[in-house]
């Protein structure tokens, strides 16, 4: 793939993943030598509807999102879901556990009737997705690795081990041993256990790693004083859409 045309799009999200791209700062120039950025609302005003790779941030939460996403899918050769909202559903899906009319009232108050809302979902619930960049936000290095891999014809590597691996590598004391519950053992790594390294527990933003042992994780959370309901609500922060 030679100097692909690249576009960025967003649906329901905070645009933090796209911000990570602009945060590449001194490497942005090198990136523009490698790809032709044709659409990136967050950093430029030019627009162009011809592109090879579409990076899509955000989840689907309105009826009108669906045709728009389908349009992007048609135009792009490769569609990449970036960040928790697009890749796994993420935080937006918390609303799926409440009545949608009530949700609208909480958010928009008296103006609720002017807005439409549907169950929040990741983009692969609507269209086919070729690649995923997980995390809240996605990780800059993984973004660059995906681009260099696509251009050089190499299969991109998506980490498929739990956060615990990188947490041990950082030599953090286990959160459970500090009396704090943590989703690290079932969450896809790749983040270098950044939250735990800086004192928080893992919230599961990168979604479930393949082949998790949910029963064992739930037992361990219960053993550490969490009720099944508490454990489930912890899972639901990012993982509400996951089965």
């Amino acid at each position: 793939m030679k100097r692909p045309r690249v576009a960025f799009f967003d649906f329901t999200c905070c645009e933090g993943c796209q911000l990570e791209v602009s945060n590449l700062e001194d490497r942005l120039i090198d990136l523009t030598k490698l790809v032709d950025i044709v659409m990136f609302r967050e950093v430029m005003s030019e627009k162009d509807d011809t592109y090879d790779i579409a990076f899509v941030e955000g989840g689907i939460s309105r009826e009108t999102d669906i045709p728009r996403l389908e349009g992007i899918r048609k135009r792009a050769e490769i569609l990449v879901a970036i960040g928790s909202c697009a890749a796994i559903g993420g935080i937006n899906c918390i609303k799926n556990f409440k009545d949608l009319e009530e949700v609208k009232k909480i958010v928009y108050g008296r103006d609720a009737r002017y807005f439409d809302t549907i169950l929040a979902q990741p983009i692969d619930a609507v269209v086919k997705v070729e690649h995923y960049l997980y995390g809240c936000p996605m990780i800059k290095e993984e973004f660059l690795d995906l681009i260099t891999s696509l251009i050089s014809g190499k299969r991109p590597v998506v980490p498929n081990y739990p956060v615990c691996i990188e947490c041990k590598l950082q030599e953090n004391l286990c959160m459970f041993h500090k009396g704090v519950y943590c989703l690290g053992p079932i969450t896809r790594g790749g983040c270098k256990a950044i939250c735990i390294t800086y004192g928080n527990s893992c919230e599961g933003c990168r979604g479930l790693v393949d082949d998790v042992n949910i029963n064992s994780q739930t037992d361990i959370m219960k053993e550490h004083g969490l009720s099944l309901d508490d454990a489930l609500s912890k899972f639901k922060l990012y993982g509400g859409y996951l089965r």
Binding site: D30, S152, P162, C164, K168, L173, P185, I186, D211, S216
Partner: protein, 342 residues
């Protein structure tokens, strides 16, 4: 060879520390972290002495680090650019279990195929051990697997008696290091007596936690291939792989080529991998050889107590207990061995 083990009495602990710190090496020693210990780059040596419990990561992180850039290359060219690594280091305070683990790794990385990358780092690393007089905590079981005592592999082995060290010399460079240190004196019969007293106290403090002798383990594991224990453990197992990362004798790795942004320059990177992880046995065709957690656990235990033990005649678990200490599902080698004995 016998006089190489001459014991030298060191008048002062602090003086020895200052001497080491003045030497042209980077010193890595045991330091406290969140109530546990880690090996870290230090400006002063403050070994915890008998309060020591095994460090969160074993010292293997200095001998075959994770995210290890082996060499750089240019895409499409049959040329590699070696990475210059001039670091000479001292690992201070390595306990017998970890020295024994390094001895096992020396064999693994040189048997059949000599791993030059490992050999270079090993050659550039001076090991200063500290002997254990009592078990560090309930999780350790070094005695049970025959790794309480260490006979080789170290450059110096210290016995810490509070204000002073007894030093055993284990190598030529260890001897060189000691001859340059002037504030030492030869041992007296009184010193020898003192060492004997210490050694005597050790007796009986370490017990065999296994319900069998270590030599029987290969046969035990061989005959336990279809034991229901593996399924039971597999159900509890989180599959987090922490035990692989923590283990001083787990050495499996993955190799990836990564490209820089100019997609011309690349680097070959060696990352730690672990047999408890699903993708470890995933092959190009999409098949996974050990698909269940039970299969993976059984394999891991057989590697430690059966397959490699048959080849090298020593337990490939050194009994440091790191895996058991950190396992949220409370899977420990002691429990596994003893439940297979039933």
């Amino acid at each position: 060879m016998k006089n190489q083990k001459t014991i030298i009495y060191i008048a002062n602990r602090d003086e020895f520390h200052s001497y080491l710190l003045s030497q042209p090496y980077n010193i890595y020693a045991v330091t406290e972290k969140e109530g546990r210990y880690v090996f870290a780059d230090v400006n002063e040596i403050n070994d915890p002495g008998d309060k020591y419990t095994p460090t969160l990561l074993p010292p293997k992180k200095y001998l075959y680090p994770d995210e290890w850039i082996l060499f750089r290359f240019k895409r499409g060219r049959e040329e590699i650019f070696e990475i210059e690594d001039k670091e000479k280091r001292i690992l201070f305070g390595v306990r017998p279990c970890d020295i024994n683990a390094i001895n096992l790794m020396d064999k693994i990385f040189s048997d059949g195929y000599n791993d030059n990358y490992y050999a270079k780092r090993r050659k550039d690393t001076i090991l200063i051990g500290i002997d254990c007089f009592s078990p560090c905590d309930d999780h350790s079981f070094c005695y049970s697997v025959g790794h309480l005592d260490v006979k080789e592999g170290y450059d110096l082995l210290l016995k810490d008696i509070g204000t002073a060290y007894f030093v055993s010399i284990g190598s030529k460079r260890g001897r060189r290091l000691m001859t340059k240190f002037t504030k030492v004196r030869e041992t007296t019969p009184h010193d020898i007596e003192q060492i004997r007293e210490i050694e005597k106290k050790k007796e009986g403090m370490f017990i065999n936690k296994f319900k069998t002798k270590v030599d029987n383990l290969p046969l035990l594991f061989r005959s336990s291939i279809s034991s229901p224990i593996w399924e039971e453990l597999g159900e509890r197992d989180l599959g987090c792989g922490a035990c692989n990362i923590d283990c001083p004798t787990c050495y499996c790795f993955d190799i990836q080529d990564k490209l820089e942004l100019n997609i011309e320059d690349g680097r070959r990177v060696r990352d730690w991998d672990g047999c408890m992880l699903r993708d470890f046995t995933l092959v190009g065709s999409g098949e996974i050889f050990r698909a269940s957690k039970a299969d993976r656990l059984r394999h891991r235990f057989n590697r430690k107590f059966h397959y490699l033990m048959n080849v090298y005649k020593k337990s490939h678990c050194v009994g440091c207990g790191r895996c058991a200490r950190d396992c949220l599902a409370r899977i420990s080698p002691v429990e596994v061995v003893n439940s297979l004995m039933v």
